[in-house]
């Protein structure tokens, strides 16, 4: 081996298998594990389809279905599923259910997505600040979190919605302003344990400012935690929104969400069972896929698991 080596003889050439073993970053390892995880991949594809449908809902409704989702027709109400022209039937006012479901999906999924994004931003800023600095900031924040957490969040949401009848936009903010405690606690804990590691100490010794340490050294190490919690919290927020809208305290009709399509469901048991089925089924499938993806990401990117 030494005879045929080039000038840099101390550089060891790795075979493919060895490279996979030594030279792989945590991220590459995660991707490789993810590719083998069939269940997570299926869930991810279902989510992609749902997201695309939601994203292009207006186009699909106008160009493909060619119906007006809010056009009522008293003579065509409670049509069952599979009626020609109305794939999922019509509702009590004769509106096409398929178009309504698409529209509602857009609203429900964006509330979940943007709510989780805001939650995460709040969680990152507050969690890192209090985890890194500790002291008074940490005590004050912990007290606020404890106070918010001891009101069951549904009651707090009910209280707030009773004060302002929310639109989809304001509901996102309200849900996020209540749901940030869990993410913040998670990130605070992570920051707290990262702060004690040697590389942070050495950065401090080199004179890096706290903000530089936080954003350059700590944030990259939080990314996997953040991605995993994002998937789960989108799911949780979709559930919260649907429950609230079902109670009539969330997004108000005529804007459709999967939750408020079920407001009058109790009166449909006899005439329109199909209207009870579909909105809930879509919530269930979306949230289930999000949880499965969250679990899959956790397993794939967990540095402590071995192949």
């Amino acid at each position: 081996m030494a005879a045929q080596s080039k000038p840099h003889s101390n550089v060891v050439q790795l075979t493919g298998a060895e490279e996979r073993f030594f030279g792989e970053s945590l991220f590459q390892k995660g991707l490789r594990r993810l590719r083998r995880d069939k269940l997570t991949l299926v869930a991810l594809s279902v989510l992609c389809v749902m997201a695309l449908l939601a994203l292009f809902a207006p186009v699909i409704i106008n160009q493909v279905l060619r119906v007006d989702p809010s056009a009522t027709d008293p003579f065509e109400n409670f049509l069952p599923m599979g009626t020609p022209g109305h794939l999922f039937g019509t509702d009590d006012l004769g509106r096409d259910q398929f178009a309504r479901l698409l529209q509602a999906g857009q609203v429900s999924m964006s509330i979940g997505f943007f709510g989780a994004l805001i939650t995460l931003t709040i969680g990152l800023v507050l969690g890192m600040t209090s985890g890194y600095f500790g002291g008074f900031v940490d005590d004050a924040l912990s007290w606020i979190i404890a106070t918010l957490d001891s009101i069951p969040s549904l009651f707090l949401l009910i209280l707030i919605s009773s004060v302002l009848s929310p639109t989809a936009e304001s509901l996102v903010i309200v849900i996020a302003l209540i749901g940030w405690t869990g993410t913040t606690r998670l990130i605070r804990g992570q920051t707290f344990s990262l702060r004690g590691l040697d590389y942070v100490t050495s950065a401090q010794a080199l004179g890096a400012s706290p903000w530089r340490i936080m954003f350059v050294h700590i944030v990259p190490n939080l990314i996997s935690v953040v991605m995993i919690s994002l998937a789960t919290s989108i799911g949780a927020l979709i559930l919260t929104e649907s429950a609230l809208s079902f109670l009539g305290l969330g997004v108000q009709p005529p804007t459709a969400t999967w939750g408020n399509m079920l407001i009058k469901a109790q009166t449909f048991y006899i005439r329109g069972p199909h209207m009870v089925l579909m909105p809930g089924l879509l919530i269930f499938v979306t949230v289930l896929c999000l949880y499965v993806v969250g679990d899959g990401l956790r397993d794939a990117f967990d540095p402590t698991t071995t192949d």
């Binding site: 007290w143 606020i144 404890a146 106070t147 001891s150 009101i151 069951p152 969040s153 549904l154 009651f155 707090l156 009910i158 209280l159 707030i160 919605s161 009773s162 004060v163 302002l164 799911g235 559930l239 649907s242 429950a243 079902f246 109670l247 009539g248 305290l249 939750g259 079920l262 469901a265 109790q266 048991y269 006899i270 069972p273 009870v276 089925l277 909105p279 809930g280 089924l281 919530i283 269930f284 949230v287 289930l288 999000l290 949880y291 499965v292 679990d295």
Partner: protein
């Protein structure tokens, strides 16, 4: 132990204080607000309404209004000579509406003494309204807590014993499904199936409707309890089965379990007598979140089943803008949550002899 409980109870006082501030702030921000709703009477001239509002304290500083709500006003303005008009006042003006006469003495005892005022809708004390509804929620909550914890723990232990087997996989799927399914939709579908289609179970209510509005003893109306209890218990089963399983698998690798096996004990004794007992200790800490879950779940479940409990009361109260009821339910729910967490900490100390609170 007693000192620990006392310490924790004292720690929760600022928490409850924070909750009252938060709820009060939210309610005063409401359009119309509590005062607006009280002073609204069709046909009242604006000056009269202003006077009434002044008597109710809208002109007082915010902090005085809050104290009046929290601590009552019977000590802020009182009558010592018995003529029906106040002659002493602290914090409040004697003559709030400016008509030259002193106001009537304060009668409110404040939230802290359990006086949330009267319901705007039924005009009765909020506490009376709620105490009528409480038994219904309690029986539902206790039933689902007992069933949910029992089923969840048993499933979790069995899943851990048969780790990796089909039973383990099935319980895992059940747990994920129960977590992801919107409980109100599950309830609607079950009513649709068992109530409307098969006509096996009643569609709604706590018992057969009667004129006297009272219900027979619980064993005569079990069929009304089955579906709501099931819906409330699903979340608990999901949580407890996962938690118990994880806790069992933590325990099973410990030395004393190996010792038990080495002594030649059979599997059954090792798992159920040695492992399960210790594995259940951390499960006790789950009681706090479980109570929170039941409280939130009751709101939704009672609404689906038109079940006359506290949860449905708050939904109706919001729709009717009955602020005193909304505030009372929220504050009591928060206190119940704090109490639940306290209880699970104390329970933890009682079952686990290794924990000492000093």
């Amino acid at each position: 132990m007693f000192r620990y409980i006392l310490k924790r109870a004292i720690q929760s006082i600022p928490l409850i204080f924070g909750i009252t501030v938060l709820t009060y702030l939210l309610m005063t921000a409401a359009p119309g607000g509590p005062v607006g709703a009280l002073t609204f009477k069709p046909g009242t001239p604006p000056q009269e309404r202003e006077k009434l509002a002044a008597r109710l304290g809208v002109n007082d500083p915010w902090i005085v209004q809050y104290m009046r709500w929290l601590l009552g006003d019977d000590w802020m303005r009182w009558d010592s000579d018995g003529d029906g008009l106040a002659d002493h006042a602290v914090l409040l003006p004697l003559d709030a509406d400016g008509d030259g006469k002193a106001e009537a003495p304060g009668t409110s005892r404040g939230v802290i003494r359990g006086d949330f005022g009267n319901s705007f809708v039924s005009r009765r004390p909020v506490l009376d309204v709620l105490s009528e509804r409480l038994p219904a929620t309690l029986e539902l909550g206790v039933a689902s807590l007992v069933i949910g914890v029992f089923v969840g723990v048993v499933l979790g232990i069995l899943a851990a014993v048969r780790r990796g087997g089909w039973f383990d996989n099935v319980t895992r799927i059940v747990a994920v499904v129960f977590n992801a399914i919107p409980s109100f939709w599950l309830g609607l579908m079950l009513i649709l199936l068992f109530g409307a289609q098969l006509q096996l179970l009643p569609l709604q209510g706590r018992c057969k409707a009667t004129i006297s509005d009272s219900c027979p003893p619980i064993y005569d109306r079990i069929q009304y309890m089955i579906l709501p209890t099931f819906i409330l218990a699903t979340g608990l089963v999901a949580g407890y089965s996962r938690f118990t399983r994880a806790s069992m698998l933590d325990i099973i690798n410990q030395d004393y379990i190996r010792t038990a096996r080495a002594k030649g004990l059979n599997d059954r004794a090792v798992w159920f007598r040695h492992a399960a007992r210790n594995a259940l200790i951390p499960v006790a800490t789950f009681l706090g979140p479980a109570i929170t879950g039941i409280l939130s779940g009751a709101v939704i479940t009672e609404t689906i089943f038109s079940y006359p409990g506290v949860g449905r009361t708050i939904v109706q109260a919001v729709q009717q803008r009955d602020y005193p009821v909304v505030m009372a339910v929220t504050i009591y729910a928060a206190i119940a949550t704090i109490f639940g967490y306290l209880l699970s900490d104390v329970l933890y100390g009682i079952i686990d002899p290794r924990i000492r609170y000093d």
